[in-house]
Subunit: 379 residues, 4 copies
């Protein structure tokens, strides 16, 4: 693990996600840019002190020298955005699989570069868009892919938070509101990308144009803390994306609604084990995690009988587990299952960076619609 020191929120989450299914052992780390803090953290986590490093460069360097059956296999990068690219690059170039928190990099250029490096490396990269790890989000995608809603016409996706309603200073808030660490976007990068990814993942569509209202509400803040975006999809559908960190009193209730010709569906994190399907002329149906009637993606991504709620950590653990299962299949020269392969990677990372660039540009533009440059042009 790179990052995830004593005060880090997401590092602890990654460790739980890795532990949960017993597929990973934490064997080494460079937990902080401070060597002493890194040591302290390693001690606290019960690591072999020889494998707690003062820097990620040292870690990659030293681990590369260990025998193949001893050295770390997967490196998880949980640092602020400006410290994603270089450790990921070095890890891949030295033969390690990479797990990296979203957004994938500081800039689109870095993301495109990482894609090239990944291609050469023959390794795997997991981008932790957690919400797509929820079984009922996977069920939503599967229902739509099966045509159960008919052609998709409308997508509403929202991520309202309230925690940046006031000017606050702590490790979490500081780097997220600092353009040097976070990049050109604040809320749009931190949670807007999650909403964007969720909309594309569930609908199976690509967002091609957008029109954004981007706001910095709290005085003195250097990056956006609120935004709303009109969307156009590649099949002609339209949508709305709302992401705010000044929606006072809101927690993390990510929510998506998708409507097609025959019906609509709704999923929200606060009731994560439920997927609601509405139909034009029939009673709505409630699909639930842990039941026998859901599809294979939902089945493979839950652990408990229906009614025992699984939550955010399990969704996160699903990403880790699916990624591990793919690596294990690779090692055994087997083809990973389609359910295991369903994890976000570099393409989702690039889409997210394009979204960030376009949405921030749109926020400053007087022209209504801006195109999101398509991937194809860049290949």
């Amino acid at each position: 693990m790179i990052g995830g020191g004593p005060d880090a929120f997401i590092g602890a989450i990654h460790r739980i996600a890795a532990n949960l299914d017993g597929k990973y052992d934490l064997v080494c780390g460079a937990f902080s840019s401070s060597a002493s803090k890194s040591k302290e953290m390693g001690l606290q986590l019960g690591l072999n002190p020889n494998r707690v490093y003062a820097s990620y460069q040292e870690m990659i360097d030293q681990e590369s020298k260990l025998p193949a059956n001893e050295r770390v296999q997967v490196i998880s990068i949980v640092t602020p955005n400006h410290l994603h690219f270089d450790p990921a690059k070095q890890a891949l170039e030295n033969g390690f699989h990479v797990i990296v928190d979203k957004p994938i990099t500081f800039s689109l250029a870095e993301a495109l570069s990482l894609k090239a490096i990944l291609k050469i490396s023959n390794k795997r990269l997991l981008l932790t868009h957690t919400y797509t790890g929820y079984p009922m989000v996977k069920e939503a995608k599967e229902q739509i892919a099966a045509g159960n809603l008919g052609k998709i016409r409308k997508v509403y996706v929202e991520y309202p938070q309230g925690w940046l309603s006031k000017e606050i200073t702590n490790k979490q808030a500081d780097w997220r509101t600092d353009p040097k660490k976070s990049g050109i976007a604040g809320a749009m990068g931190d949670i807007g990308t999650h909403a964007f990814n969720l909309a594309e993942y569930v609908s199976g569509l690509t967002i091609t144009k957008l029109c954004a209202d981007i706001n910095t509400v709290v005085p003195g803040r250097k990056l956006d803390d609120d935004g709303a975006v009109l969307l156009k999809f590649n099949n002609g559908a339209s949508g709305v994306l709302m992401a705010s960190q000044i929606a006072a009193g809101e927690e993390n209730n990510v929510k998506i609604r998708v409507y097609g010709e025959k019906g609509g569906l709704q999923w929200q994190q606060c009731d994560a084990n439920t997927l609601l399907l509405n139909y034009l002329d029939q009673p709505a149906q409630i699909f639930r995690t842990g039941t026998a009637y859901v599809g294979s993606y939902a089945q493979e991504n839950s652990r408990t009988p229906a009614g025992h709620p699984e939550g955010y950590l399990e969704a996160f653990a699903n990403l880790y587990r699916n990624f591990a299962n793919c690596i294990l299949a690779d090692l055994n020269n087997e083809k990973p299952t389609k359910e295991a392969l369903d994890y976000p990677g570099v393409e989702e990372g690039i889409s997210g960076m394009r979204f960030i660039d376009t949405v921030i540009a749109s926020g400053e533009s007087e022209v209504k619609w801006l195109n999101i440059e398509s991937e194809h042009e860049n290949n």
Copy 2:
């Protein structure tokens, strides 16, 4: 009553709303443009056949000739939009109070004209923006006006319906999708105006600019059936308005969320007797209709003890009752209570027509933001 013949949905609703509190007696009507259908309806409603008229002109003409203590006092207009202005004008000019369904008229010009006529008439006009009749909507307004959320920063308002997902032909759908009867807007006029009115009413703010994505999704339809609108308010707050009639499977769950510096609130029609207040650092609170702790507006607009749900008809009846109480106070040379005076009228009607004009123009515009011309410029 003008309109509200055998197949009309909203006419029946108006009659129930009028009946509910026993403040109105239905004494005469011109229920249809067909004289025979009007007669039939009057018969069915048990009216004196002499006071069932073949046309609204005849009704206003004949009723005007009756002695003051016999003739109708309030005329309720529940016709399609293109038949709002003329009967309202004639009613006011002949000394009758007017109740008219929204949108107030076919065009902004008519609305402005009606305002002038109303001013001269010394009569009252009620515009039936039903949702502002809900006690918990009134409580929301009162909470915000009292500053309990701090300065308002963000408003989300939505009105998703699915009933026009397919091409359908019935009396309800026909006129609503016919530009000659409905005006320049479909969904935006029918339900977008409700959402717009709700946002301004609850927030106590004025929407000054907007940027709209307006769609006609169902092939062959002549008016918009879907739209999403970015909003700017006069205090600098921003917002999103979503109104759709192709959100398949949705019923009529109008919903509003407002966020201020200190907290946020949420109300939705499917749980109409509940107002949720979220705070930055305290447990959320659930305010409920029929309790002793809500404000005077909510108190005055409910009839049953907490837990016995009141719904759409009661909200509608609140508009009728408050309007009646104002007229009764006028007759007694008393000042109506502030709670009774809290009904929508011609100003809300004009705002709604401006919204329609601007939102449709924005839908066709390549410029991002369009101003909603302010009322003041027109006075």
Copy 3:
């Protein structure tokens, strides 16, 4: 109307219920045992002063003398329990239909006597068990009757209130906690009978035995304010009935859950327009008021499109409307529709009185199960 004076809660509710669909005109009343209060109320309601009476005896006497086409047709009795029987008896014996609030009488003996009187009278009697007027309660009954849940095995019904958590003195609380006015039961009579009636109505079964824990929680109170009852049904199913007026913070969320071999259903007043159907191996379904897919009972008992909530007053009005439709059919020598005939009457009243007698006896008994004497033994 008999009763329903200035401070009465339920009288006002009855008047709204009668008004709502325009099937009743309030033409006369004896609103209070105080002649002056009765006059005052009649004045307030805009009645002809000649038909506002000082006592119910006077009212029935005088109205009987009016010509058939002028006199009142239906007498609604909304007095405390000890004043149900005599006015109902006199009304029936003088040729008036009767509407009476529950419980039907002060004692079982009175109820049985009233049944005999009713039989002779050739009139109709409506007992206002409001909750069976809800469209989704009717849908629940219809689903079970159609066998969609299979054989019924378990019924949970509950009526938690908190309003008597403290010793309070007002008109509502006073008579309900006074054995001379309320009868032998407090909470069990006031709300336990509603729960009992709902359980029998929805399940289509008869409760044959019970075992009760009856409590008077608030010191000094003379009647029960809380109870829980184990139930046995005539088909072998079991159940639980919970009714409390000291469930502090609860409003009026009557709720019923019924489970059969194939699935279960749930309805609760706080979400009155929804009926949830759970199945063993399929997604649950949400049935909603105002949709095209619900049965004829639900269809006939709602007025608004899906998503516009109808509540307690509409449920109450359904009882009034169905009763009126039966009377109108009688007048026209037509057979009332099965949907109109589905209103509670004297049989439900007698069952309720048997429940009260048995449940109070059980509360004092050391024997576990007490039989509810079956109707058949008494005929």
Copy 4:
């Protein structure tokens, strides 16, 4: 680990719960009464084959011989009920801490015996009553203990399941419905004890008497699959416990409601991160996991920011983590925190066994109330 072989549900859950916070390493196991199945499971779990044992006797025997710093410290017993006591006894007598699934033993006599053994052993025992591991259940207990509801008057607790609605045969169903493996109780032992424990834990009270309706609904089943129980608490409060495995369509929505003089609270597993507090004359409050305003017990038992749901596995992991923290404190000669000490143990196990004995006896009794013999009489 003892038990938890290939088809076992709860064994896998225990392993995840142990993994989640990285406080346990699985080092040895006797996963099945079949030696080959045990080996297979150990292999699957990546254990050292030398420490995968053919029987629990062998495991305890061999592990005892290992050096102190190598041998297992905590033995988790996840076998059917009839195989709880002996392995627990042997583990304790050989110096291992014990984790055991509920109910603690096959019979009350065994439970009392285990208590004596535990006392001598100077070791710790964790009984996995999972639901008391939820942060909001702990918050509920803390709110009541702080007097925020006033004196407790009423408790409703329920555990409805539907999975035994039909006669089914699988490993889960088989032993649970077999008196030789499960004991004298079916549903009452499997889930009734959870409900019982939850009621005592949250209320802080002791249940002293009960009156039960115990049913075996599915033909041919040998143990109860449904029951409802009237309860009396040591402070005079009353309650109802409902536990059913034939509530068709229900999942695992354990729910508790407690009412005091000043208000009531409600928690249910399907919305596990929410605790609802209702008050007599104020708006209800929604307490949420992961917030700053909840008490120390809730704080210490969650891992993610508010709005990221934690569920059943985290609740289970809380038991494991708190138990580990106590053992670690013991090893360091420190006093465990009060939050860590808040885990269920042998006393809760004995209470549960008393409940089972009494509730089954009551089900067969014609006397209404049976006392639950108090602990004090047995010491």
